[in-house]
Amino acid sequence: MKSESIRHLARTAWPPAVSRRPLLTTLPVSSLRLYSTHPPNAKLNLPVDYSTTPLLSHTPQTALSTTDLPAKARNSTTKKMNLFQAINDALSTALASDETVLVFGEDVAFGGVFRCSMNLAESYGAQRVFNTPLTEQGIMGFAIGAAAEGMRPVAEIQFADYVYPAFDQLVNEAAKIRYREGKTGRSAGGLTVRMPCGGVGHGALYHSQSPESLFTHIPGLRVIMPRSPLQAKGLLLAAIRSNDPCIFMEPKILYRAAVEQVPTEDYELPLSKAEVIKPGENVTIISYGQPLYTCMSAIERAEKDFGVSIELIDLRTIYPWDKETVFNSVRKTGRCIVVHEAMVNAGVGAEVAAAIQEDEATFLRLEAPVTRIAGWSIPTPLMYEKFNFPDVARIYDGLRRVMEY
């Protein structure tokens, strides 16, 4: 039974590209409506070209000179990986270096529906890499118990959209165990929860959500979102080895799209530390995850069109977040835009904007209102995704507005 269903799932989750071509050629061209098309006259909303974006390290040299990369990794070799391969590499590294690491969730054993746990069960044994029954609250409770007894479980929630059944375990248990245990010293610090998140073009209501701000409202959790394979490996290893429970959110649209050189060495990137991706003087854009690529495209156009210089900051850890880096940037530029896919209402942008205006030294330097460019206050509907998530045009327009203010 198992092998059959797995084969079916594997086929659907990962159709070989060759088998699809004959199907496409038999269809009349007029009936083709590809999701990836864009308006013919568009100058802003063009698809992100991941093969040339400066946000990815296309050569070993740029990879090895990454800020915050430990010396050991700087001297290592690199390998070209996409995001799911980098996650896989991090999981494999964690399993190999620490026997208390366990990897589990729904459909994890055969490699995962996004291929992140490929070959791990074969390499590290069914005892350490395994499928669970289909129960998110069970996965989370199980992981918390294992963590409280000294293991380092890496639990997978198949889609961030399905984390809500596990919410009680995360909010009332994982996040609060160290606090309520007090002097006994127990915690669920060994826990890491991985979940694919964000839009993918056609995920609709339950395969597109970015619930990070719900987790940032929970004292005791660390919330992390990488933007690239190199970052994913370093941040995931840091999360697994952190003694605080970590929510690790993986933008699923980048699983195959984002490809870059990744150090082969075991390395960690610091948590709760933002990265200034691109320095600038006139506006600061703060974002995380996939929208950083959209921001970069908007910045390239805006700098040309408006003759301004724009600073781009990747928060990397969304909570507890790096206020100093953000404040320093905004004190310098005086203008600020926060960009994220998740709904604008009570999103991460609300917290960042409020903190900026609350900090006296930063408030006095503001020359325009802090602007949020984010998903509208709606669920994530299928046919409207391109109107919902921040795109280049909306970010470009936001830059124009803060400059003209």
């Binding site: 039974m1 198992k2 092998s3 059959e4 084969r7 079916h8 799932l9 594997a10 659907t12 989750a13 990962w14 159709p15 070989p16 590209a17 060759v18 699809r20 999701y35 366990l102 055969f110 490699g111 490929m118 070959n119 069960a121 074969e122 289909l134 129960t135 069970g138 989370m140 409770g141 199980f142 992981a143 918390i144 118990g145 294992a146 007894e149 000294g150 479980p153 889609f159 009680d168 375990q169 009332n172 248990e173 160290r178 606090y179 309520r180 245990e181 007090g182 002097k183 006994t184 127990r186 915690s187 610090g189 993918v200 056609h202 339950y206 005791g220 003694n243 195959r256 507890p320 206020k323």
Partner: protein, 452 residues
């Protein structure tokens, strides 16, 4: 609805535009499960979902009433008489007396603390009257290294494992000696030395955690065979068993073969809700079978039955590389649910008085001990006086102790204080400096200095 189907379809669509770049990825490795196929003319189905089911031509729904209620195991009856001929007590006289005194201690502690709450000296309390045997009896059959998760009505487990009168009182008064640093409501005990996880209020959350903890113990012993075999025991009420976490926990424990003993205290009520409004099946025990878990129902007022069942459950849990076991202990919640509850609003006083008088776990063991010639009225009086003094002495000491330092409210949220929390600590300190008359800091260890 079938989320699995939805997900499968959606995944296919998600992967579509991405698949074009996938040609270079390594091939799939699929571990084949045993292959199943329907043999011609077989009398049994071979559908993967249930492989041992015989075909039938009779159209008949299986009714719960077709199955007799699972019987209730008992060793000693209400009169203290042994009814299981095969039973031989495995404890010395001293050990039996210790067990008895543990139950007595808890019942005395309950009376004193219930009144203390009524006088406003502690904020909250929950007594465990009627359920002392379930807790003490099961705890007595576990090894000291076994890990325990509780719900909140298991004072007897703490007492039997070695929690002292001072430990109870420090937590109840939330003073500076409280392991929980004064953060938790009363009765939310926890102990590292005794291997008991700190109690949390959300019901049933401890159940899947117990499964995961048991899995951890199993893996740890596989990694290091010098570690003694250990199990996890987890307690919960019949009301908590209605939570989704109960379902998740039993299913996960069974599928991952976790050495965990689920111990249900079925005391007839979840606050005001009687079991008839809690479930319609044969209690909690009948569910264990559905999850493929070995299950027993015991008389929870018979400490010997609870002890024997737990002893055997522990052996079972460690067999075949580990597996879960379910014990449903039937008992009666003699007390109010908590100090915030007046149970006579929903049940007759006479019903409670009947249980107190006719079948009480403490009196049942006392009768057995008297029949064995190891207990008497004099010993009873001496023990009661001694234990009451012990409780009252600890009460006085704990009430006099300082509260924990205010700083403790910011600590242990994360392993280390975050910059935000440092700033908030300084902000609070500044408020206390500028509004000194608005706060009483005298009770707190170190006053506002702890916030530096």
């Amino acid at each position: 609805m079938s989320p699995r189907l939805l997900r499968g379809r959606a995944i296919a669509r998600l992967a579509k535009p991405l698949a074009r770049q996938s040609q270079t990825a390594s091939p799939l490795h699929i571990r084949a499960a045993s292959s199943l196929s329907q043999r011609p003319d077989s009398e049994f189905v071979s559908f993967p979902g249930a492989v041992k089911s015989a075909f039938t031509t009779m159209l008949k729904f299986d009714k719960p009433t077709d199955h007799p209620a699972i019987p209730t195991y008992r060793v000693v009856d209400q009169h203290g008489t042994i009814v299981d001929d095969t039973f031989t007590p495995d404890l010395s006289k001293e050990e039996v007396v210790k067990i008895y005194e543990d139950m007595l201690f808890i019942s005395l502690l309950d009376i004193i603390m219930f009144d203390a709450q009524r006088q406003g000296r502690v904020s909250f309390y929950m007594v465990s009257a009627g359920e002392e045997a379930v807790c003490v009896g099961s705890a007595s059959a576990l090894s000291k290294e076994d890990v325990i998760y509780c719900q909140y009505r298991e004072q007897g487990v703490f007492k039997h494992r070695g929690f002292t009168a001072n430990d109870f009182m420090d937590q109840l008064f939330a003073n500076k000696n409280d392991a929980g640093c004064g953060r938790n409501m009363p009765v939310h005990y926890g102990s590292k030395e005794l291997n008991i996880h700190t109690i949390s209020s959300p019901l049933a959350t401890q159940l899947p955690q117990a499964s995961g903890a048991a899995y951890a113990l199993k893996v740890q012993r596989q990694n290091d065979p010098t570690i003694p075999p250990r199990v996890v025991a987890v307690y919960f009420g019949e009301g908590a068993a209605s939570e989704g976490d109960f379902h998740a926990a039993l299913n996960m424990a069974a599928t991952r073969s976790c050495p965990v003993i689920f111990i249900c205290r079925n005391n007839g009520y979840a606050i005001s809700t009687p079991t008839l409004e809690q479930y319609r099946g044969d209690g909690i025990a009948s569910r264990g079978i559905g999850y493929g878990i070995e299950t027993i129902r015991v008389d929870g007022n018979d400490i010997w039955a609870v002890r024997e069942a737990t002893k055997r459950a522990r052996e079972l849990a460690l067999e075949d590389g580990g597996k879960p076991v379910l014990i449903e202990a039937l008992t009666y919640r003699v007390s109010h649910h908590s100090t915030s509850d007046d149970s006579f609003a929903y049940r007759a006083r006479v019903e409670v008085e009947d249980w107190k008088r006719r079948d009480n776990p403490i009196i049942r063991l006392r009768k057995w001990m008297e029949a064995q010639g190891m207990w008497s009225d004099e010993k009873e009086k001496e023990a009661r006086d001694r234990l009451r003094r012990e409780v009252l002495q600890a009460f006085k000491e704990a009430e006099r102790e300082k509260k924990p330092p205010i700083r403790a409210m910011f600590e242990d949220v994360y392993e280390e204080l975050t910059p935000d929390l440092r700033k908030q600590m300084a902000d609070l300190r500044s408020i206390l400096d500028r509004y000194p008359d608005e706060y009483d800091l005298n009770d707190y260890e170190g006053g506002k200095k702890s916030l530096e």
